[in-house]
């Protein structure tokens, strides 16, 4: 049984002072249900997650106590991907006919401050100033630039594209395009990445209604089919965040293993993808993820960005809604926002940022601490 997405809903990312994280999640669910022309009572199951916004299953207090199976998912940046993976299995196995995937969050301002003990580390690691994701991102792209000849210009180009696409996305948080000079001169955060090259923790919610493909048209005239939903964790040797030491040999990242498995399961290849969402917690991540997901060779990003290949009108539009850079990262919702954007693009409903030529196949990729990746491949 194939799996269809028949309803998508988003509570705009950014800051909504008047609403709790849970309320933003509920708003996203209501939007997704309305999009699918159904109601919460019809949902047989839900998978949902939030890092800082409360237990996802508390949503029933706002949406209705219907007795459905509601499973909380907590998998860091891959929470949305893991929820969707679980929903995919529930439909694919024919356990259920229709259900809900939801993610939401509401983070404090400023960088995350993870605690060492939650990551199997001891207090010294945090106390001495090594427990910062920003450092890892800086160090990974620093080495990558050294190994593969990526210039700082390419970092700036990714940021330029993100805020340009954000300016075309009504639900984005950062809706002002930034000039090369503004990005170039922003305060440094963690060499070589400056303020405009990082995304920020944020708030928001996103929900999807999923169902058996044979009943999809009851809900929506243009179902989007979820061909595969893959989540993988790190292998020994993969260069990951919060690692006091790294083995001698650098192994493929979980992005590579998730991507390879997803292409194989979906029976398509990178050249079949018409529009992609790649995790861009910072510009270096988007650059590296272009190659780790198989879309170009390592080092070719320099040319791709210079030629605008990942622009909305390029050969592979990437992060058409501005990605994490322009939307911020409410961890529980972020991965589902990617799927939302692909659904909108494949339906042809993306307005000013619509990819031309009726895109048929879309791709989403999340990556997060401590080395986890989720990939989805979707078709019209």
């Amino acid at each position: 049984m194939d799996v269809a997405i028949v309803g998508v809903g988003l509570h705009p990312f950014g800051r909504t002072a008047s609403m709790s994280g849970l309320e933003q999640g509920a708003a996203a669910v209501r939007a997704a249900l309305a999009d699918a022309g159904t109601d919460f009572k019809a949902m047989q199951f839900a998978f949902g997650g939030s890092q800082d916004g409360g237990n996802a299953d508390s949503l029933v207090n706002l949406l209705g106590l219907t007795g459905l199976q509601f499973t909380n998912v907590a998998n860091g940046c891959a929470t949305g991907g893991s929820s969707l993976n679980a929903a995919y299995s529930a439909i694919k196995s024919e356990q259920y006919d229709v259900g809900l995937v939801v993610g939401f969050d509401k983070h404090a301002r400023g960088a995350f401050n993870p605690q060492p003990k939650d990551w199997g580390l001891e207090d010294w690691y945090g106390e001495t100033g090594l427990m910062l994701t920003t450092q890892y991102f800086g160090m990974k792209i620093q080495r990558y630039m050294h190994d593969h000849g990526i210039s700082r210009d390419t970092l700036i180009r990714v940021a330029e594209k993100a805020y340009r696409n954000g300016s075309l996305t009504p639900t984005a948080w950062r809706r002002t395009a930034l000039s090369w000079e503004e990005i170039d001169n922003a305060p440094m955060v963690s060499e070589p990445l400056n303020k405009y090259m990082f995304c920020s923790p944020a708030e928001g919610g996103c929900a999807l209604v999923v169902c058996r493909s044979d009943i999809a048209h009851r809900f929506h005239p243009r179902p989007i089919y979820l061909k595969t939903a893959v989540v993988r964790s790190r292998n020994y040797g993969s260069f990951e965040v919060f690692s006091p030491s790294q083995p001698p040999e650098v192994a493929d990242s979980p992005t590579v293993t998730a991507s390879t498995a997803a292409f194989e399961l979906a029976g398509v290849g990178p050249s079949d993808i018409d529009v992609a969402q790649l995790q861009d917690t910072e510009v270096g991540a988007e650059i590296m993820h272009m190659a780790e997901n198989g879309f170009c060779a390592h080092g070719d990003q320099e040319r791709w960005l210079a030629e605008g290949a990942t622009d909305i009108n390029g050969k592979l539009p990437v992060n058409t809604d501005g990605g994490c850079l322009a939307n911020g990262e409410p961890v529980g919702a972020s991965g589902l926002r990617q799927v939302h954007e692909i659904c909108v693009q494949l339906r042809g409903e993306a307005g000013e940022r619509q990819v031309a030529g009726e895109p048929q196949v879309g791709y989403t990729h999340v990556y997060g601490a401590p080395g986890i990746s989720g990939v989805n491949i979707l078709t019209r």
Binding site: G110, A111, N113, Q115, P116, E122, D123, W124, G126, E127, T128, G129, L130, M131, L132, Q135, G138, M139, K140, Q142, R143, H146, P187, M188, V189, S190, E191, P192, Y236, S243, P244, S245, Q246, P247, P248
Partner: protein
Amino acid sequence: MSEAKPLHEGLFNWPDPAAGLIGSRCLDCGEHAFPSQSSCRACSSQNTVLADLGSAGTLWTWTIQSFMPKAPYDTDETPETFTPYGVGYIELACGLKVESRLRENTPEQLNIGMPMKMELITVRQNEDGDELLTFQFCAAKESH
């Protein structure tokens, strides 16, 4: 009487820091880890022993921490006295790459591949006035 002592036991040799960092080695597959681990993350074996990792290596990658981190960062600094510090991975003789604070804190001072050596720095004083120490790396040759 106040004294200097490691912030955390078992990361480096003490009181003879010249012997460098302490990690572990798996007797089954030979892989090293830092800090020492009782089970091997490469092969799942529990047959590991402590191993001296030395105090010298080369810089594998780096960044600079330019703002004072939030908790759990815990030093005697204030936002006013905070000094940016480098962070990098040092590739040791055994091949293991160890994450470390770096003394150098400007891009001009840091290059991938440069020789590095371990030193100790004070993280903070405890309530008894003891200096709590951790390791960091710095350029093996003074820059000119």
